[in-house]
């Protein structure tokens, strides 16, 4: 029961992007295509899970006043692992995500989970928490990327949707990202309010 709760909390109730409003930079920047969003989800979930495991294992040995630098070092190590692996096996993904791979280090979701959850709980439940948060983050990215790719490039996973249709190029660049996320948050608020009314 508790495992299910910890997993689902990251998806809906405490969704990092939609509810907590953290991890916004990658959410806006890499969502130009669905495959980019999915790769970002894999990379972030991997770093989040590994750092949560390690932090929950060493939490009793870290003096509390230097815990933040220690957490950042742990996170940066796993980000370097992701960076080197992607560069070697998926060079295309590495170039299209670009600067946002090293910037996973400063994604507040990962440091926030290490500080708030993994440094207070056991290993197993920390893994569940990391998976839930990572997938919740990734799902939001995927929905955002779906709208931006279909409207901004008239494509999905690189395949053209409607031949001869001229896409709205604005959706593929920064303004489209801001406005789409704004509209998604609006829809989310609307759904939340109508849910409260039913109760």
């Amino acid at each position: 029961m508790s495992i299910k709760k910890e997993f689902l909390k990251g998806l809906v109730e405490k969704n990092p992007v939609m509810v907590l409003g953290i991890g916004l930079c990658p959410a806006l920047a890499v969502t130009t295509s669905v495959s980019n969003a999915l790769w970002m989800m894999i990379a972030t979930t991997f770093v989040l899970t590994c750092s949560n495991i390690l932090v929950s294992l060493v939490k009793d040995y870290i003096p509390s006043h230097i815990r933040i630098p220690v957490f950042i070092t742990i996170i940066a190590t796993f980000v370097t692992v992701v960076e080197i692996t992607l560069k070697a096996y998926q060079p295309e993904v590495y170039t299209s995500l670009g600067i946002f791979i090293p910037l996973i280090v400063v994604n507040c979701i990962i440091l926030g989970r290490a500080e708030e959850f993994a440094s207070r709980n056991g290993v197993f439940i920390s893994i569940i928490d990391a998976l839930g948060m990572g997938i919740g983050f990734g799902l939001t990215l995927t929905i955002l990327a779906f709208f931006r790719e279909t409207l901004g490039a008239n494509k999905l996973f690189g395949y053209t949707l409607i031949p001869g249709f001229k896409p709205a190029g604005m959706m593929a660049i920064a303004p489209g990202a801001f406005i789409t996320l704004g509209l998604m948050l609006w829809a989310m608020n609307r759904i939340m309010v109508s849910r409260k009314h039913k109760k």
């Binding site: 910037l103 400063v106 994604n107 303004p175 990202a177 406005i179 996320l181 509209l183």
Partner: protein
């Protein structure tokens, strides 16, 4: 000749490639601290200072430590630790030298460590090949300073608009984050106009 190059870098980082509005870096502080103009100005100046300093120090670290020992894959770890220590040092130095400045900037300084624009400018300095060029140090300084000024500009514009929004009659579900995102989108659309600028 060189002067023209520096001016091009400065203007392109402030206007054309504004870190917040066209590259979507540093969104968390951009939305978090832009509720009041005073705190927006404080945050902006702190970011200019830290970005310029971080650019200079990461330049030396990359050129004289990481490159000669061919350990450039440690870039992410080295840079984030350097930035975290710079922020800590600056905080202590300002506290000792000018308590009044510390009271104005103090609360923003710890937040800068997780501002992805700061790590972003350090990584971009390396990626754009400034390290090995002639006058590389000056170019990194100009790019770091310009990125900070661009951040300040975006933050000031946003806070000015958000202060006026307080009295505006916005639909209930759109209040708070959704309307901020839509305004950020419109601002970034306006900044798109600078893309046509050339020197």
């Amino acid at each position: 000749m060189e002067i023209k190059l520096f001016i091009t870098i400065l203007f392109s980082t402030i206007f054309i490639n504004n870190y917040v509005l066209s590259q979507t870096l540093g969104i968390c502080p951009f939305l978090g601290v832009s509720k009041k103009t005073d705190s927006a100005a404080g945050m902006g100046f702190a970011v200019i200072f830290v970005m310029t300093l971080a650019s200079v120090i990461t330049y030396f670290i990359y050129k004289y430590i990481l490159l000669p020992f061919s350990i450039t894959y440690l870039r992410t770890i080295a840079f984030i630790l350097v930035i975290a220590s710079i922020v800590q040092l600056v905080e202590m130095a300002i506290n000792k030298l000018s308590p009044s400045l510390y009271r104005a900037l103090g609360i923003f300084l710890p937040l800068i460590t997780t501002n992805c624009a700061v790590l972003g400018v350090a990584v971009l300095n390396v990626d754009s090949g400034f390290i090995t060029k002639e006058f590389g140090l000056l170019m990194t300084i100009v790019q770091g300073f310009g990125a900070g000024v661009g951040f300040l500009l975006a933050l000031m514009l946003m806070s000015g608009i958000r202060e006026r929004l307080e009295t505006a009659d916005i639909p209930f579900n759109l209040r708070g984050m959704p309307i901020s995102f839509i305004i950020a989108g419109l601002l970034s659309l306006a900044f798109l106009g600078f893309a046509g600028m050339s020197f």
